[in-house]
């Protein structure tokens, strides 16, 4: 655990050395606010709910989270700092976890950047606090799942751009299979796709009903990709 913390701190230090996290956080908040405000103006200004935000978040995260994750392993591989890291006495899983937590911090800051919308909307009327809490909790779980995908892809290549694009494609489709499910002719296939869909799971949490099955879904997806990440790093020894 101490090693995890060391990797976490190092990763945060390196992340915030460059402009990327600031840019990502500012863009994330900016785009979310712009989208919600123009939606709200189009529809009913007086309606105090954040549905437009939470409907938009899966897509926004699918785009931004791979950008946060892309450099985390690729940079170590390209700069060969992977060697001193892995020849230090730490378990690969601790290194993976430290990086994951550092990424999660940036994801959380991205979500936090949309909080002005909550304040604004709350001033317009009675805001359902449960739905907002559920929405942000769900968004964090969703972000964690995307992050674990992005982190795993980053461990596969020395090229950040490749990691980002693959992450974007996977996260995007994973968000969208919900829509495929809705248009599927067979009901059971549709239900299955909806069960597997990140946006479907997210929507059910964001409605303010925190179902443990939905939480377990995100936690298992995250754990699975973190496991793949550990395997992928350890398999580099056989290169």
């Amino acid at each position: 655990m101490r090693e995890t913390l060391a990797v976490f701190r190092r990763e945060v230090r390196s992340l915030f050395f460059g402009p990327i996290p600031y840019l990502v956080i500012a863009l994330f908040g900016g785009i979310a606010c712009w989208y919600v405000i123009q939606k709200q103006l189009f529809f009913v200004l007086r309606q105090a709910n954040l549905d437009p935000l939470f409907n938009f978040l899966p897509l926004l995260c699918a785009f931004f989270v791979p950008a946060i994750a892309m450099r985390m392993w690729s940079e170590e591989i390209r700069g060969e700092t992977l060697e001193p890291l892995l020849t230090s006495p730490l378990r690969t899983r601790h290194a993976v976890l430290g990086k994951f937590l550092a990424g999660l911090l940036v994801v959380a800051l991205c979500l936090l950047s949309t909080f002005s919308l909550v304040v604004t909307t709350a001033s317009l009327g009675d805001l359902d606090a449960g739905a907002v809490t559920g929405g942000y909790l769900g968004a964090l779980l969703m972000g964690a799942a995307y992050l674990s995908v992005g982190l795993w892809l980053s461990s596969k290549t020395r090229n950040q751009v490749v990691a980002f694009l693959l992450g974007l494609v996977i996260c995007f489709f994973w968000t969208m299979i919900d829509g495929l499910g809705a248009s599927a002719p067979s009901g059971s296939l549709g239900a299955l796709l909806s069960d597997l869909s990140i946006s479907g799971r997210f929507r059910s949490i964001a409605q303010g009903v925190v179902d443990l099955r939905d939480v377990a879904f995100f936690v298992s997806v995250t754990a699975f990709f973190l496991y793949l990440n550990v395997e992928s790093i350890e398999n580099r020894r056989n290169a």
Binding site: R2, R9, R13, G79, E80, L86, T87, S88, P89
Partner: protein, 317 residues
């Protein structure tokens, strides 16, 4: 302390290691020599558990580095080839991070970092980011990293590469002093470095071990014979020396600077007793003996001979 047996490693279709074996006892400083691409770095990466071999074993302090290297890594200080570092971290941050990975915390961590910084002479660069350091200072950061946890074993991949002659000298002095109480294995292709620092040299070429021993032993094995300065005639000297066993050739020439003396080169015998036998034979034949020495070959000659032979054979064919 270090034991390598039948190590084999393939990179795709290219064989990097073709079954090398050696042992390094505790406290020895070993120079790992070979041309670029000989397999030095690969061996070191396997010894630190960064790469898994395709065959053979590598143990450090009794820990199998090919299975779970973690307990072994606590006892190894490693300077990887090229000395990669996080360019955006300050020197002190780099070292703190490494210390933390070695389980050092708080005051113990800071004390270890300070000690390592003092040891390699980085005090005036503590707060500089490693990306802006010169090669010499970067190399010191790498060495400080390797020394933080006071390891018993140091594995240094080309520690003097990229340094200017003064820095090389400093680095050698430092390694020499570190080697007093540690087991050190360092790779290089600078031969005087091995002469200056190492108790022993291991020369590898194309993934195979071609020589292993103290520098005196490697020279001895390779020396071609004995040269003696004798009083007497050319004919008498030749006649006497040809009676020696294992002699392939005897060349006797009159000594240019001393009339009545000859210089005799006895080619063939390579063992330690060769000088003694030449002396006994010469004296028994009534030839006055003034000087006697086994041929010394420079390490450069040996290195060239050991590592070029394959190419030359190809060229000749």
């Amino acid at each position: 302390m270090i034991e390598v047996r039948d190590l084999v490693k393939w990179y795709g279709t290219r064989q990097a290691l073709a079954g090398i074996s050696f042992q390094v006892p505790k406290g020895q400083v070993v120079g790992f020599l070979g041309p670029n691409g000989a397999g030095k770095t690969t061996t070191m990466k396997i010894l630190t558990g960064f790469l898994a071999p395709d065959g053979g074993t590598a143990t450090v302090g009794g820990v199998d580095m090919t299975a779970d290297p973690l307990p072994g890594l606590r006892r190894i200080g490693y300077l990887p080839a090229g000395n990669p570092q996080y360019a955006e971290l300050r020197v002190v941050e780099t070292l703190r991070f490494s210390a933390e990975l070695h389980g050092l915390r708080g005051a113990a961590r800071d004390a270890a970092v300070d000690r390592a910084i003092d040891l390699v002479g980085l005090a005036d660069r503590r707060m500089q980011t490693t990306g802006t350091l010169s090669t010499g200072y970067r190399q010191r950061v790498g060495l400080a990293r390797a020394l933080l946890h006071e390891p018993e074993v140091l594995i240094l991949d080309e520690p003097t590469s990229g340094l200017d002659p003064n820095q090389q000298q400093d680095m050698r002095t430092l390694i020499r002093s570190l080697g007093r109480e540690r087991t050190v294995i360092l790779s290089t292709h600078i031969l005087p470095e091995v002469e200056a620092i190492c108790d022993r040299a291991i020369i590898i070429h194309e993934g195979a071990l071609v020589a292993d021993g103290t520098l005196a032993e490697i020279r001895g094995e390779r020396s071609r014979g004995v040269t003696a300065t004798l009083r007497g005639t050319v004919a008498a000297a030749e006649a006497a020396l040809r009676t020696l066993p294992d002699v392939t050739a005897v060349e006797v020439t009159p000594a240019a600077d001393a009339p009545g003396w000859v210089r005799a080169r006895v080619v063939g015998p390579t063992d330690r007793d060769a000088c003694e036998r030449v002396a006994a034979t010469a004296v028994a034949a009534g030839l006055g003996l003034a000087a006697l020495a086994p041929d010394t070959t420079s390490l450069e000659d040996i290195f060239a001979e050991l590592t070029r032979s394959a190419e030359q054979e190809v060229a000749r064919a």
